[in-house]
């Protein structure tokens, strides 16, 4: 027996019955709508199994191990379990996992990729460990201005700033905002990680540090309104920053662009004649209940025929990249990796384009398309790229 661990949800976690609703989408058509259970098909990787293991660990029934930590950290925080769980505590299911991670952080017991992720954010302001001074390289060749009291701050985020594929989406969105005449600016090399992943990885100290730093910078610069490329940034700005007195008007870009199109300030490319299916990002959909804006945006583009995958909106299968998994890659390496399942679902719709509204999903799903050998069949594009006519 190991020592009992201090745990925030000690009085609640035993209420999970492990009935397995958490594995399903709304229509029950598959038992693999939890991305970690889909990948491993062991009960230990189901939401219920994970909670029972956490309880056993905090009670001293089992010891910490790399495997336990992998099980705990492989959860993408996608909230499918919360949508499906019939018990009244369902809103706290992800919080219970995050609290266990916090306890692991407190005890210094973390899997190596998670340690690297957090160390890189701490030292460099991004999980990739790349230099902060390279953060603005994505905007080379654009006319995007630094933020100087414009109406909006365009917050790009870690993926959009550093990941080669996501940089294209960041650029497309910037160009669209320019075309539409939106008053906006970016932080460039002054931007640092938003903290969304740090929060779900359970590093409360680093989260606080990032939030306070960002809030100070935003306030010093006079930022009132923020447009984000990533739903992850949107989520943490909207839901966590106010707890630290960081209250800003926050928009995911899909919530801004439809108005610009309706106002005639933005036009899509010429008739595209394109069948598109849309993948709901967890941090826009289940976390923030925004299902319509991205669809409205797509429907507003001439020549786009929007078709839905079987699992969509509340039941969308996560790409597997959430909560740092795009970096830690606990769910990769298998045909049952959630991103690969998801692109197969997208391909089954007959769509030529799998549209996303998240740089995280963009990189996860594009990699999956390559591994599945579907490059000639379906392209993964950010909605901003479709609208901007980016090839």
């Amino acid at each position: 027996m190991t020592a009992k661990i201090e745990y925030k949800y000690d009085d609640m976690i035993h209420r999970c019955f492990r009935c397995g609703y958490c594995k399903f989408p709304n229509d029950w058509s598959t038992i693999t709508n939890c991305p970690t259970y889909a990948r491993f098909r062991l009960e230990s990787y189901s939401s219920g199994g994970r909670l029972w293991l956490i309880r056993a660990w905090v009670n001293g029934e089992i010891e910490w191990s790399e495997n336990l930590a992998k099980i705990v950290y492989s959860c993408t925080a996608c909230k499918n379990c919360e949508e499906q769980c019939p018990i009244s505590f369902s809103d706290d299911l992800v919080n219970m996992v995050v609290a266990a991670r916090s306890a692991m952080v407190e005890t210094g017991l973390l899997p190596s990729p998670v340690k690297s992720f957090l160390k890189n954010v701490h030292l460099h302001g991004n999980p990739y460990g790349l230099a902060a001074k390279k953060r603005d390289q994505w905007m080379e060749g654009t006319k995007i201005e630094p933020y100087q009291n414009q109406e909006y701050l365009y917050y790009v985020g870690d993926e959009g700033s550093y990941d080669t594929r996501a940089q294209s989406a960041a650029k497309s969105l910037g160009e669209l905002l320019l075309k539409a005449g939106v008053s906006f600016g970016v932080l460039g090399n002054l931007e640092t990680s938003d903290g969304n992943e740090v929060e779900t990885l359970g590093e409360e100290g680093l989260l606080e540090e990032l939030i306070e730093k960002n809030i100070k910078q935003f306030k010093d610069l006079g930022v009132k309104k923020i447009i984000t490329l990533s739903p992850h940034s949107y989520n943490v700005f909207k839901n966590s920053y106010p707890k630290f007195r960081g209250e800003f008007e926050v928009f995911h870009y899909t919530q801004i662009l439809p108005q610009l199109m309706q106002a005639g300030k933005l036009e899509g490319p010429a008739d595209l004649n394109m069948k598109v299916t849309y993948h709901d990002p967890c941090f826009l959909g289940r976390w923030n209940k925004e299902y319509n804006a991205p669809r409205d945006l797509l429907k507003g583009i001439k020549g786009v025929e929007l078709t839905e995958m079987g699992q969509n909106k509340k039941s969308a299968l996560c790409c597997g990249g959430g909560s740092g998994n795009f970096y830690t890659d606990f769910l990769g390496g298998s045909e049952d990796s959630p991103a690969r399942i998801r692109v197969r679902e997208a391909h089954e719709t007959g769509a030529q384009v799998l549209a996303v509204a998240c740089p995280n999903c963009l990189t996860m799903l594009e990699d999956a398309v390559k591994v599945e050998g579907l490059e000639d069949k379906i392209a993964v594009k950010d909605i901003s790229e479709i609208l901007n006519g980016t090839e």
Partner: protein, 453 residues
């Protein structure tokens, strides 16, 4: 532990789907009910019959136990590795192989979840339905066969294990056998009239592993309605159920009583599921059930309809586990004549009160009121050892009660199995022993279950 067994499992199912790690062993050591944990030595999650067959052959060679597990929803500890060995999680074997619409049957792999088949039929064959148990959708088709499960459609069609057209089974010695028309033709359309060899239904995986099931499907009408009658006298329940079953128009016929919420305490709710392709058909059924058979109860004021709904949601029994805010409940299932309802209800109230558990009892009519599944549920708080102990004692008291009242225990755990076997006819018991020994000479199949001394 034998690392050679683990390596062999990895060779069979791949590294991702075999484990001897503490976390998986812990997870599979636990049942959802009150049973003490029993640790396996390995966990394997096969995808194909061939992989499963290799595991069975490996277990025979290494003389290690194997325990097949479906959804793990029995709550009775039936899928616990009482003697260690290899836990086989069947849920990757979940292909819906064929739905024969005009023949009204579906051939599925045994690990197919009830939810998946339900959704598949709803989407692709909306005029067909299978009998769904009240268990969560993760319960599997094969698991339900292994425990003689039952669900809606039990009133017209019986236990789920009465609804099969064929089975494929891996014997404890590794041979793959098929039963029914599928043993001699590609069609899975009937279990009869070949000699009966159904030694696998209700055995809880102790005589072999069911791998494929041909499941009978039934007409699914466009409009489904759930009506709820209430009476305050338990003695009236058998008579009402008899009257309703006389017309044979209900798809599910249940009676239940529960302490929570307080407004339902001591009342008896009779749930009647009816369906129709038109409102006219529904009205016809309502007229026969309520006007023709039950009008006297309404006229005398001894009962009434309290609710009707056409927005049917599947029951969520999981919520019972939260009654003590403790993530647990377990029940004793039994099969009795319908006439036993009043006595069974009263005993349930007594036992629950003794253990400070809100009482919950439910009966489901099987066939034309030929029998009734009756369950006493006991919620407990998993974090409170006293609460778990009370539930466990209540369960055992209930198990002890069943034979004395003339019933049989449904899907009993080992404690209940011992009670059943103690009361069983000696010759029948001897036959069970011979069958088990013949089929499983190495004693590897879910050992500890249905073992005749």
């Amino acid at each position: 532990m034998n690392s050679a067994v683990y390596k062999a499992l990895v060779d069979i199912v791949g590294e991702d789907y075999a484990s001897d790690r503490a976390e998986e062993l812990f997870t599979y050591s636990k049942d959802l009910g009150t049973a003490e944990p029993k640790w396996p030595d390995y966990v394997a999650v096969p995808k194909t019959v061939e992989e499963l067959q290799k595991i069975v052959l490996l277990a025979n060679e290494a003389k290690v136990a194997i325990v097949p597990m479906g959804g793990g929803m029995s709550l009775a500890g039936i899928a616990l590795p009482l003697h260690g060995g290899i836990m086989i999680d069947m849920k990757r074997m979940d292909e819906i192989i064929e739905v024969n619409g005009t023949g009204r049957y579906a051939v599925v792999e045994a690990g197919t979840s009830q939810g998946k088949l339900f959704a598949y039929l709803k989407k692709h064959h909306p005029t067909l339905a299978h009998s769904m148990p009240d268990a969560p959708p993760a319960a599997t088709i094969g698991g339900n066969m292994a425990i003689h499960g039952q669900g809606d459609l039990a009133h017209p069609h019986g236990f789920n294990s009465d609804m099969i057209n064929g089975l494929e089974v891996i014997l404890p010695t590794g041979e793959i056998c098929r039963f029914g028309s599928c043993s001699m033709s590609p069609g899975w359309f009937t279990q009869h009239p070949l000699p009966d060899m159904a030694f696998f239904l209700g055995w809880g995986g102790a005589t072999g592993i069911i791998t494929k099931v041909s499941l009978r499907l039934f007409p699914c009408k466009k409009i489904r309605e759930f009506d709820l009658l209430v009476v305050d006298n338990e003695e009236l329940v058998p008579e009402i159920l008899y009257e309703i079953s006389h017309v044979g128009m209900s798809e599910d016929l249940t009676a239940f009583s529960q302490a929570l919420p307080p407004m339902t305490d001591r009342l008896h709710h009779i749930g009647v599921n009816i369906s129709g392709d038109t409102e006219e058909e529904l009205e016809f059924k309502r007229r026969f059930i309520y006007d023709e058979r039950l009008s006297s109860f309404f006229e005398q004021g001894t009962g009434g309809i309290v609710a009707t709904s056409q927005d049917l949601e599947k029951p969520t029994v999981t919520k019972t586990s939260d009654w003590k805010k403790g993530g647990g409940f377990e029940y004793v299932g039994s099969v009795f004549p319908v006439s036993a309802y009043p006595e069974l209800y009263r005993k349930g109230v007594e036992i629950s009160a003794r253990h400070d558990i809100p009482y919950t009892v439910v009966g489901r009519v099987i066939g034309a009121a030929h029998s009734m599944m009756f369950a006493w549920s006991y919620a407990f708080n998993r974090a409170d050892p006293d609460s778990v102990r009370h539930a466990n004692e209540a369960l055992h008291e209930t198990d002890d009660l069943v034979p004395g009242l003339g019933g049989t225990i449904w899907k009993p755990a080992v404690y209940g199995q011992q009670i059943v076997m103690k009361h069983m006819d000696a010759n029948t018991l001897e036959l069970m022993k011979k069958l088990k020994n013949m089929l499983d000479p190495n004693g590897i199949m879910n050992p500890g279950n249905w073992e005749v001394a």
